[in-house]
Amino acid sequence: MTNLYTLYWNRFRSNRFAVAAALVVLSLFILSFLAPLITPYDPDAIDAYHVLLPPSGAHWFGTDELGRDVFTRVVYGARISLKVGFVAVGIAVLVGTVVGLVAGYYGGWPDTILMRLVDIMLCFPTFFLILAVIAMLEPSIWYIMIIIGLTGWMGVARLVRAEVLSLRERDFILAARALGASDLRIIFRHIFPNAMTPVLVSATLGVAGAILTESALSFLGIGVQPPTPSWGNILTSGKDYIEFAWWLSLFPGLAILVTVLSYNLLGEGIRDALDPRLGRR
């Protein structure tokens, strides 16, 4: 097994973009954990004497309409984005994996019902559904993560189901069954680990998607509520002051762009490393 992992690692390492992306993702983590050490300002400290200042040595990304340091708010905003990205995708992967395992392994009517549910969920314009649910509840970051997760599991379910279908008939499963292994044991011990490769890739790409969705929601004013800084809600004031303060719009947007780009490149890199068949395109 160690040889296999060395092979994966070597393949991953040879992809410059993926390595760069992994470094960016890593630095984002460090940045958000060490936020108070990185910047001398308080993200919520209002300073009426330094309102809407352009970028300078003291305020790298300028200040906003309340005199808060935009760089500080972008750094603290990274915390929100990472949290939303990981929790939402965690939920989506959990639900999708369970649905896919059950549908694929048992087949028959559970499969029919679950896959029709997937079809139905895929009909909804996801953003409409998320918007509707969030607006009905009180806006809170937990609801946002749960709802983004609950509207994003369908792809994972289909992937896992397809993997299970192809694994189910393989000899080693047959052997396990002949030895008297229970369904649960077969599913979790033999099928689950083998079906995880495509899920890992889709989860990495899913983090990017969840970050984009959260920022759009916060931008529209129904995501993370001010004064808590999130990249999306900084852009809301960016829109209001676009004629006088371009820096309010530029930097948080770039932060989203770079983060999402990195997760996408990382996901592709992982896929190419684990499964070169898919990557040689």
């Binding site: 509707a132 509840l137 529209l220 829109k239 395109r281």
Partner: protein, 325 residues
């Protein structure tokens, strides 16, 4: 073909029921009831009116009865009345907004496919060249750019900085007096930025998909055969490869609908375009339950129909499905 068509049409029924069930459940998950929301914001509503509203929506009945009643009314295209102060039937409000959103999205869809297919072919046929690299970088940037941020940047550049294009609404002030040609040009100028944003949003994914399909087809034996018998590269690509590479793209047409419709919330809100997305956003902010439910159902239904049309096109184009299914 007829059998396939009938089978697909019959499938619509359970799917549509599922859509209504999910919509209903989602709205009723909310704590508090719609009438409370509506009346809490309006102190003028008396207890008596409140009771009337409750009866109208059947809120004093158990949930499954409410669902049944709602479904019966849906079948008569009665989506109830909006909670907004105009109190108009939801269906009327949606009807006047749908054409704008649909035509915007169709234009964006045509542009998207019109651009993505050649881009994908170019990247695949010039694989591993500078051109392919450039396209790949563009695609990854396209994946990562938040559409609302792109809209903001374009607004700033073309609207504020250079002042070339209007940045909100569909018409200029006083456009009622314009000649038809000028009226059209005026609307076109208003639509340029929103359509650009809507198109760009999904261009990246589609061109990458097209590239992958094309590469896969180009690796097939019949392409080698075509080349071996001495066909020119043009004929190989456009006559033999393209048709097969395009097939899977048809299904994507159906799949891209919900994304487009959902995305319209963002650019319609930013550019102040009076379409369904903006209506939905306003409905959501005002907790206008009948309106929100109506748009959710119609949005999902449009997707359902879009998927069906895409599948039918696919069946028409691919004899294997037509005869096999």
């Amino acid at each position: 073909m007829l059998g396939y068509l009938i089978k697909r049409l019959l499938m619509l029924v359970p799917l549509f029921l599922g859509i209504t069930l999910i919509t209903f459940t989602v709205i009723h998950l909310a704590p508090g009831e719609p009438v409370e929301m509506q009346t809490a914001m309006n102190p003028k509503i008396s207890a008596q009116t409140r009771q009337k509203l409750r009866e109208y929506y059947g809120l004093d009945k158990p949930l499954y009865v409410q669902y049944g009643k709602w479904l019966t009314r849906l079948s008569k295209l009665d989506f109830g009345r909006s909670f907004a102060s105009d109190n108009r039937p939801v269906i009327d409000k949606i009807k006047e907004r749908i054409p704008i959103t649909l035509s915007l999205n169709i234009i964006a869809l045509v542009l998207e496919f019109g651009l993505a297919i050649p881009i994908g072919i170019l990247a695949a046929t010039h694989r591993e060249t500078l051109l392919d690299r450039g396209i790949t970088i563009f695609v990854f940037l396209g994946f990562a750019v938040p559409t609302f941020w792109l809209a903001l940047l374009l607004m700033y550049l073309f609207g504020v900085k250079f002042g070339w294009l209007p940045i909100s609404g569909l018409h200029s002030l006083g456009s009622e007096g314009f000649s038809p040609v000028r009226w059209l040009i005026d609307m076109g100028r208003h639509l340029l930025l929103p359509i650009a944003v809507a198109t760009f949003g999904s261009l990246a994914g589609l061109s990458r998909y097209m590239r992958a399909n094309m590469l896969e087809v180009l690796g097939q034996d019949y392409i080698t055969t075509a080349r071996a018998k001495g066909l020119g590269e043009r004929a190989v690509i456009y006559r033999h490869a393209l048709k097969n590479a395009l097939l899977p793209v048809i299904t994507l047409l159906g799949f891209s609908l919900p994304g487009l419709i959902g995305g319209s919330v963002i650019f319609e809100t930013i550019f102040a375009i009076p379409g369904m997305g903006q209506l939905f956003y306003m409905g959501v902010m005002a907790r206008d339950y009948p309106l929100v439910m109506g748009i959710l159902v119609i949005g999902a239904f449009l997707t359902l129909v879009g998927n069906l049309l895409a599948d039918l096109c696919y069946a028409l184009a691919d004899p294997r499905i037509r005869h096999g299914g």
